[in-house]
Point group: C2
Chain length 273, copies 2
């Protein structure tokens, strides 16, 4: 199939509506939910998203990228909007350096029970706000052999453009699902799927992560930036676990890791068995 | 001492020259080097920087922050430029949310040998480019008990505003120094100070970090984003070490961690003895 190249030059062209103001988080949240789409940026990410079965709605790219991306553009049954850099920037709201943008269709997320079936090591993310952090955590999870990720109902969207980008496409490699309810989500993981719930906390009186008993199935819970896990989720956990901090650091007031660093250490620790 | 409040309203006021275009990395590099200054943003960071002996050249803040920061402003022998939000934004190039900016004097960096004297666990950073990554690594280093950080001659500056901010002020808690020469810097660490040099590499044939022999004094070397350690530094190391990746991830092409995640795991591993 040959790519359907469509020259465009008007930033207000309604055919480019999928790509407007990509850095406007609130606008994008509602626009992407309404139309069931997400934006993939750059060749590698687009290939990975397409490879996991996400249909392409359209591409938006500059003329000079059409040739290098020919096989990708040809393979998709979707219009390729070709514009100059100024037009792309006027639509997207920033300079796109990675060659191409693709608007792609979201697939229905599987139920939590399907995603965790057969999984031995999972992460459960409660209410993370920052998309880059969610992306980084997926990258760690993928590299360090986490089998699945479960998101709280309000956790930031792994298919937001920046999350995908920071994950290096790992959001397409690690199966994930979103709980339908915050109150009973953890209970279902434990009772139906038999996971031991470990809650990562900065509290240094908790069991050090490296010494925590790892059962057959372990769910490691990570809380929001700043606030950490909610008290309800902490209370529901089987065991609070901590990453030991240096005594000097505690005295100095430098007594915490950001959630990405903490999750990297935690994923690594979960690999030990 | 009472704060010297100086109302300003012209973004081109030469007294505000220290604060211009804070997001223009190239401009800031040369301006800050020329004047021997750095910019601290927000109360916590300013207090930490002042607490480690960095003299304040001036403050720039909005009127509403003068009262909450009174003790800090009073304690410094420096003018407090008070401007409305629009003026601050016009000078700095972005909206400053954290209350106050301070222009502070850099102190001469100590020689490498002074910084590593008495240290058992150090990081050596080769040519990192991203200031946020450098800041994150300092935060990990501080929290996880790393004694000192040594920078290659070209490694990004820990006192760049964004590095300080991301580090949560940890750049003032962990002693650091910069090598004068890239070619003989490592040799000096080994021969003069007796450090075992471990080179962190994605190469999965290297010794897993958790199994690496940790001698009395260990220097863990981290390379640049993307490229990793130079072949020269890799060859000079006593032992290449790796973080084991999941087999499935390798097959999937999701086979690397970003340098912050890797450094978090590495710092944690160095704590084990």
């Amino acid at each position: 199939m040959a790519a359907r190249l469509v020259p465009v030059s008007d930033p207000a062209d309604p055919r480019l509506a999928d790509y407007v103001r990509l850095r406007d988080v609130n606008l994008r949240k509602s626009l992407e939910a309404e139309h069931g789409l997400f934006i993939a940026e750059g060749e590698k990410v687009i290939r990975r998203a397409a490879g996991t079965g996400h249909p392409v709605r359209s591409f938006l790219t500059a003329r000079r990228w059409v040739e290098p991306l020919a096989d990708l553009l040809d393979a998709a049954d979707a219009p390729v909007y070709v514009a100059d850099d100024a037009t792309v920037e006027a639509v997207a709201g920033f300079q796109v350096h990675r060659g191409a943008l693709a608007s792609m269709e979201r697939l229905p997320l599987p139920p939590v029970e399907d995603v965790v079936a057969g999984a031995r090591r999972i992460l459960v993310l409660e209410d993370l706000v920052d998309h880059a952090n969610v992306g980084s955590i997926f990258r760690c999870a993928a590299a360090l052999g986490i089998d699945a990720v479960v998101l709280s109902p309000r956790c930031a969207d792994p298919l937001y453009r920046r999350a995908i980008k920071v994950s290096m496409g790992a959001v397409f490699a690690v199966p994930y699902a979103r709980m339908s309810g915050w109150r009973d989500g953890l209970g279902a993981l434990r009772s139906a799927a038999g996971f031991t719930l470990l809650a990562l906390t900065p509290d240094q009186s908790a069991v050090p992560l490296d010494k925590a008993p790892l059962g057959e199935r372990v769910a490691l819970m990570l809380g929001a930036e700043g606030d950490g896990l909610s008290s309800r989720w902490l209370a529901e956990a089987d065991e609070p676990v901590c990453i030991p901090m240096s005594g000097a650091a505690m005295a100095n007031g430098v007594d915490s890791l950001n959630v990405v660093a903490a999750s990297a250490i935690a994923c690594h620790a979960l690999m030990r068995s």
